[in-house]
């Protein structure tokens, strides 16, 4: 089976599993692309994810870079189509049907029931990228301590102040350049 077909399979499935937004499939995506198919390393995955946070638009478009890494421009296009098309078809179709169930109380039950699962998956996503970027056993301890402080500082600042996260990403880059060069 060629890489393009494998990319298509993996990202189509991820598209349909992305309940409550893209961050929920982050752990599964990391598992498939790193451990199962060896398309990228843990480090590359964390870097590609952080590049996605710096670009405008939907943050999960970073999947395109995974496709690119595997199979060039064809890989990029296949992954974009595979990741966005299935869920988009579903939404297009369901937005008709959904209106019919406007007053059905089960609609609310589905939403309320799925909410904690989505948050749990997002937290697993934090764990998935965090164990590479902040608590990485291949790196020296001071490197991990600095990275963890940067991460927690960003979390704290965002709770305290309404500030564009891209500025904090750049600030994190500056801190990394200044403090992590030797590591």
């Amino acid at each position: 089976m060629s890489d393009l077909v494998r990319l298509l399979n993996v990202f189509c499935l991820l598209s349909l599993l992305a309940v409550g937004g893209g961050s929920a499939v982050l752990p599964e995506m990391q598992h498939e692309t790193v451990a199962v198919h060896h398309w990228v390393t843990d480090d590359q995955f964390a870097t590609i994810y952080s590049l996605g946070q710096m670009a405008p638009g939907p943050n999960m478009s970073m999947v395109a870079l995974i496709g690119w890494q595997v199979a060039g421009v064809a890989g990029l296009l296949v992954v974009l189509v595979a990741f966005y098309l299935p869920s988009s078809f579903l939404v297009y179709g369901c937005s008709y049907i959904w209106d019919q169930f406007k007053d059905n109380p089960w609609r609310n039950a589905v939403q309320r029931g799925m909410a904690p699962i989505t948050i749990g998956l997002m937290l697993a996503g934090v764990h998935a990228v965090g164990k590479t970027a902040c608590i990485n056993s291949d790196r020296p301890l001071d490197f991990n301590i600095i990275s963890s402080i940067v991460a927690l500082a960003v979390t704290g600042i965002l709770f305290a102040k309404h500030i564009n996260p891209v500025l904090l990403m750049l600030l994190g880059g500056g801190v990394g350049w200044f403090l992590l060069r030797g590591g």
Partner: protein
Amino acid sequence: MQPKASNRPTLAQIFTAFARIGATSFGGGLVAYLRDALVDEKKWMDEEEFLAALEIGQTLPGLNSVNVSIIAGRHLAGPLGAISAAAGIILPGVLALVILGLLYDRFRHNPEVAAALAGVAAAAVGLLLQVTLKIGAKQFSNLKDLFFLVATFVMVAFFHVSLPTVLFLVAPVAIILCRPKTEPKQ
């Protein structure tokens, strides 16, 4: 729910409007950008239509911002409107990512760049943590929700249970526990 003929946009106008958001929405929070543009600025939808679209977009799989764009595009101009809106919101960011990717490829072996990228990656983790805590504030403070939240987290993060399995096992239970109360029959 079609808008009035007077402010029904062409496909090019739809694409341009969404592409402007796709190109300028640095730092996430796309749904807020979409609301401002579609409801306040262009008046293509009213508040209630937007919230209805968001509700569907959040419940179904896929990215909320892309899902809302597709529903809004469909309301404005049918299938082609949906395609124009989705392409507009997605493509500028992909272009930016290709440029970032090329830079990354070229400079990743430079230790100074690698150090800066490690800092960015750490900051990205902090951002995702904050978004998770903020969106989940209600779920973290409700005991029943917290149970499902932690169960999902532990299964995926530590036992590497695959996502379909988790959804199949946990979702039905969680939904049934939130089932509508049956109204007493008269």
